[in-house]
Amino acid sequence: MAPPSRHPRSPPALMEELIEEILLRIPPDEPSHLVRAALVCKTWRRIILSDHGGGFLHRYRSFHRSPTLLGFLHNSEGPIPSFVTTTSSSPLSPPPLGRHGDWWALDSRHGRMLIYSHPVRVADHLIVWDPISGDTKRLGMPPYPLNAYAGAMLCAADGCDHLDCHAGPFLVVFVGTPSGLETWVSIYSSETGVWGPSVSIDTGFNQADGKRSLLIGDALYFSLGYGESVLKYDLGRHELSEIKPLPVFGPVIFMEVEDGALGFVSELDNCIYMWVRQADANGTGRWEEHMVMELETVLPKPAPQTTYEVVGFVEGTDTIFIGGCHVGVFMLDLKSRKVKKANLMHKC
C-alpha cells in the first residue's frame, strides 16, 4: 500500500469540534487570551461567539468551574473604595461613584457588587453595580433603624448555575444593628422592588461590622463586632442565629472549609490558622483547629515589629487576601500555596 501523502497540519485543517475543544482549554486567568484567539481567523471567532448548544462561552465558564477573579473593590482610607484589577489587561472600569461623599463596598457575588452610598445632600442609598456591563441600580435604604450595617448580594434566579447571571434578577440581604442590642435582616428583591419584613435577634453588644458576607449552601454568614461572633441567616427559613464566641482575638476572615463547613482564618506569629466549625452530638457545635501554615516560606517578611493581617477572601475558592506593612497585599491559595501579588499597598 502506498503511504498516504503527508502535508503540514494546522488547526483549521482539524475538525471544528476539535478546535472548539482546544479553545475551551485556554486558561481563564487572562480574559484577553480568548479575545486574541478570536482574532486569529473568522472560523475561530465564529466558534467562540457561537450560541449553538448553550454557546461556547457558557461551556467555557462551566468547563473552568470556579469563576475567575477579575478584580476587587477595597475599602481604603479614602472616601471611595479602590478598584483593583487582577488580570494584566482588563475590560473593567471603576464604579461610577460621585466625587463628593463616602462609599463603602459591602459585598460582591454572582457578577454584581453592593456598595453603600453616603453622598452629600442626597439621602443614603445602596448601589448595585454590574462591573461587566457597567450598569448601576440605586436602591433606597430598608425602612428600619440602623447604626451599623452589612449587606449581601445574591442572584435570585431559580436553579441558576451563576455562570452568566449578572444581568438577571437579584436579592440584597441587608443587616442592620440599631443603637439597641438587637440586629435585624431584611431582603430586597429586584423583582418586587421593595424591602421585605425584617427578622431580628438579640446580639448583645456585637454589631454588624460592614465586612463582606459568606454564602454556604442556603445560609449567609456575617461577621459581628469584627470577628467577635458570626450571624447566620437562613435564606429558606428567614431565620437568624448567632454563633459565638470565636477562640481567637484579632482580625478574622470567615470562609468555607471543605464540603460546606463554616470556617475562619486568622494570623498569629507569622502563621495562618484555619478553624472549622464541627457539629456536636447535642447540635451546638464547636470550633476546631483545622490547619496551620507558616508564612515565612511563602511570603516576604513584612516590616520589622509588624505582622501580616488577613484582609479578605475569594468566595468559592481557597484564596485569601493577606496584607503586610511595606510588602503590600497578596492573594494566597491556602491549598496550593500559590501566591500572586495584588496591585495594592497595605496600610501600616
Binding site: 482539524l14 476539535l18 482546544i22 479553545l23 475551551l24 487570551h33 486574541r36 484567539a37 481567523c41
Partner: protein, 186 residues
C-alpha cells in the same frame, strides 16, 4: 444474549481476554501493525472497547484506515504507558462525558508524553484520539495545543499554527478598537 450495557461490555472484555490473547493488533492506514494491551485499549478508547466487545477485532490486524502509523504508534504508546500508571477513578469512569467533565490537569507523565511531539505529530494525535473516542488523550492533547497559544498575539498564533488570516485590515482594526483593553500590552 442480552446483557446490561457497560457492565456487559466489561464482562465481555474480560471473557475474551481470558479466552484469548491479552493484546489486540491494530493496523495503520499505511499497513503497519501495532500491538496494544487489550485492557488498556478497552478502558481508554470507546471505539476500541466497542470493537472488542462486538468481536470485530481482527487477529491479523484491525484496520484503522483513518490513522497513520506515526499517530497510531503514539496512541499505542499512550495506552501502554497508561496501563503502567495508576489510573484514577475519573479516568476509568465511562459515565463522565467529555463535554461536561471538570477539567483535570494532565499528569506529569502525560505532560512529558505530549511535550516531545512535533506540531504535526500532535495534531495527528488529536485527530486519532477523537476518531478512537479516547476522552483522556483528547483532553491532554487539546490542553497542550491551547498552552501553545499562551501569551501570544493573533499574529504569533497564526504563525505557530500556520493559519491564514482571513480578516481584512479594516475588520481587524475595528475589532481591536472595540476591544482595545485586550491589546494594551502588545
Amino acid at each position: 444474549m442480552e446483557v446490561d450495557k457497560g457492565k456487559g461490555e466489561a464482562e465481555e472484555t474480560r471473557k475474551v481476554a481470558e479466552a484469548d490473547r491479552d493484546t489486540v493488533t491494530l493496523k495503520s492506514s499505511d499497513g503497519k501493525l501495532f500491538e496494544v494491551s487489550k485492557e488498556a485499549a478497552a478502558r481508554l478508547s470507546t471505539v476500541l472497547a466497542g470493537m472488542i466487545a462486538g468481536g470485530s477485532i481482527d487477529d491479523n490486524g484491525t484496520d484503522l484506515k483513518q490513522i497513520g502509523s506515526e499517530a497510531l504508534e503514539n496512541v499505542v504508546d499512550y495506552c501502554n504507558k497508561h496501563a503502567n500508571s495508576i489510573p484514577s477513578a475519573a479516568l476509568i469512569s465511562s459515565s463522565i462525558s467529555f463535554n461536561t467533565a471538570p477539567f483535570k490537569e494532565p499528569e506529569e507523565w502525560e505532560r512529558k508524553f505530549v511535550d516531545r511531539l512535533s506540531h504535526d505529530a500532535l495534531f495527528d494525535l488529536v485527530e486519532a484520539a477523537n476518531f478512537l473516542g479516547m476522552e483522556r488523550l483528547l483532553d491532554v492533547t487539546c490542553h497542550k495545543i491551547s498552552e501553545m497559544m499562551k501569551g501570544k498575539s493573533p499574529d504569533q498564533i497564526r504563525e505557530v499554527f500556520n493559519i491564514k488570516n482571513d480578516y481584512t485590515k479594516e475588520e481587524l482594526e475595528e475589532i481591536r478598537q472595540e476591544l482595545a483593553w485586550a491589546f494594551y500590552d502588545d
